[in-house]
């Protein structure tokens, strides 16, 4: 089966800035995929290339096997993009906006699906309100609906929850997850790493126009061995042998850096040998943020 997205040897330069320097990436159908990276890493450039808003200097992008430049019609029919910036056409109401967007994709009678979209995104009572009169969060919902009017198989969300309230985030994620479970491929860029960790099955991390990490969320988390050990001791003195690992002490509670889980046994043994009793103990779970920070701090391998 053809992949949802296939990118080979992709390069893009803006003047003296090499925005993307050789991206190879395949995203399978039905995946929930996360694209992470700091500002300026090339995430939006990659998405704009995929959407045909930019033209590649080198390499190819295919959506369901259709080249985004040469077979742009089939490629764009298969793709729905929620842009990062809140944009709208102030001349129209919500429903007009969605009907017009449907028409651009060649859909004449789309009322049923538009009503479903309005309902799922809590926009039904705003359907006949002019776009200008909507709040930022409401406009964002309309952008999501606009990206979905043609029921694209591949859906790209470029930082969909930036500056969005909790209620919309929940509405949005519930809807996106149900689309994913119906077989739609989802590609997400976000600054909220907990969102990526919660929803994405696989993650690519971008830095300076290159992919610096690409793996399932599970293995990325597992490969990151660093843990934090929090122990409360009685008596509260920390054995000298453990001083180099100490990050912080609050009374009898000490926070220790563990380079890996393998060091746990030895650390506990040292505490036991010192005669101190462990009154409380907890071990931090790795989160994507730690991994993100550690990968972004590494030098890009040339």
């Amino acid at each position: 089966m053809t992949a949802a997205i296939e990118i080979t040897g992709l390069k893009k330069r803006f003047g003296s800035l090499q925005a993307l320097s050789g991206i190879d990436l395949t995203i399978e159908r039905g995946e929930f995929f996360g694209l992470l990276g700091p500002n300026g890493a090339g995430k939006s450039t990659l998405i704009n290339l995929l959407a045909g808003l930019l033209r590649p200097d080198h390499g190819f992008l295919r959506i369901l096997g259709h080249d985004v430049v040469r077979q742009y019609r089939s490629a764009r029919l298969s793709l729905g993009v929620v842009p990062q910036e809140i944009v709208y056409d102030p001349f129209f109401t919500v429903r007009e906006t969605l009907l017009i967007q449907s028409g651009y994709y060649g859909l004449r009678r789309n009322h049923h699906w538009i009503n479903t979209l309005l309902e799922r995104l809590d926009l039904t009572d705003k359907a006949d309100v002019n776009m200008r009169a909507l709040s930022g969060g409401m406009k964002r919902r309309v952008l999501v609906a606009q990206a979905l009017v043609h029921r694209p198989e591949v859906i790209v969300l470029d930082e969909p929850t930036a500056g969005v309230d909790v209620e919309l985030r929940q509405t949005l994620w519930a809807f996106i997850q149900s689309l994913n479970s119906q077989g739609h491929t989802i590609v997400l860029t976000t600054h909220y790493l907990e969102e990526a960790q919660e929803f994405c099955q696989r993650i690519a991390m971008l830095k300076q126009g290159q992919i610096v990490a690409l793996d399932t969320t599970k293995s990325l988390l597992a490969s990151f061995e660093h843990r934090e050990l929090k122990v409360t001791l009685n008596p509260f003195e920390l054995p000298d042998a453990l001083r180099p690992m100490l990050r912080q002490s609050i009374g009898a509670t000490h926070i220790l850096d563990l380079p890996s889980l393998a060091g746990l046994e030895e650390t506990l043994a040292i505490i036991r040998q010192s005669g101190a009793q462990i009154e409380d103990l907890s071990l931090s779970e790795p989160d994507l943020e730690d991994i993100f920070v550690s990968i972004m701090n590494e030098q890009v391998l040339e």
């Binding site: 959407a51 808003l53 993009v81 056409d89 102030p90 017009i100 028409g103 651009y104 043609h150």
Partner: protein, 251 residues
């Protein structure tokens, strides 16, 4: 076809929803020209025998308002979409360069004809000017608005800011349309300026359009039609090419 029709519908709705500003205002402005120029000059100038100056002025003003509004429609729609960012809504869908071009072009022509018709109807209170060769008038109206619609698309795509667009309009479109023989016959000009007028494409649009009303013109209407139709074809090809290449729209 649905994509083209939808974009056309959107473009028509866009100016129709603000028709006070896009149709009525230019009609009023043009009528002010008519009022002032005909009052000041009607006793002193007779351009064609048997045609009063006011009557002479009307087709020229009608055409000038059509041309300026055809240009304004496509150019302002595109620059607004670019500046506000909602141009992505038409760049993301699978619209071809031809559909994109056709929709903006036809909307410009419709806007031009709406304003032109408004001016013509109200002007009949000043002087009756029924077109004697209506087909010629319509042909020149169509090609003239088409040319300016193309220029508007090119300017709208090229300009990055409103003031660049205003420069295009104020330094190219307005001087060429004012100096094209709207207010005078070029035969009344000194020889040098008469020759220069022949290099102004707007001159042929106005002169040919006026032929449709009076059956009188400064140059043969066939020649004007060939020049105007060829300019339209050339500009259309250029515009479609620019859109196809994604010039300034898809970096």
């Amino acid at each position: 076809m649905t994509g083209f029709l939808t974009l056309l519908y959107k473009e028509l709705l866009r100016f129709w929803k603000v028709s006070f500003q896009t149709v009525l205002a230019p009609v009023l402005t043009t009528l002010l020209y008519l009022l002032i120029f005909s009052y000041v000059l009607s006793r002193r100038v007779e351009v064609y025998p048997g045609v009063s100056y006011t009557a002479f002025l009307i087709p020229g003003l009608v055409m000038m308002s059509m041309l300026q509004n055809a240009f304004a429609n496509s150019s302002s729609s595109l620059i607004q979409s670019k500046v506000t960012g909602n141009i992505v809504f038409v760049l993301l869908p699978p619209l071809s360069a031809g559909e994109f071009f056709g929709a903006y072009l036809v909307a410009s022509i419709v806007r031009g004809f709406s304003v032109g018709l408004g001016v013509l109807l109200v002007a009949q209170f000043y002087a009756s000017t029924p077109p004697i060769h209506i087909i010629w008038a319509l042909l020149f109206g169509f090609f003239g608005c088409g040319i300016l619609g193309c220029l508007g698309i090119i300017a709208g795509i090229w300009a990055e800011k409103f003031d660049q667009l205003a420069a295009f309009q104020n330094f190219i479109v307005v001087p060429l349309s004012f100096l094209s023989g709207v207010f005078y016959s070029i035969h009344a000009l000194p020889p040098f300026w008469r020759e220069m007028s022949h290099f102004n494409p707007f001159f042929y649009m106005i002169d040919g359009f006026r032929y449709g009303f009076f059956g009188l013109s400064d140059v043969a209407p066939q020649l004007s039609l060939i020049i105007v139709a060829a300019s339209f074809a050339g500009l259309s090809a250029l515009t479609i090419g620019l859109i196809h290449r994604g010039y300034k729209l898809r970096g």
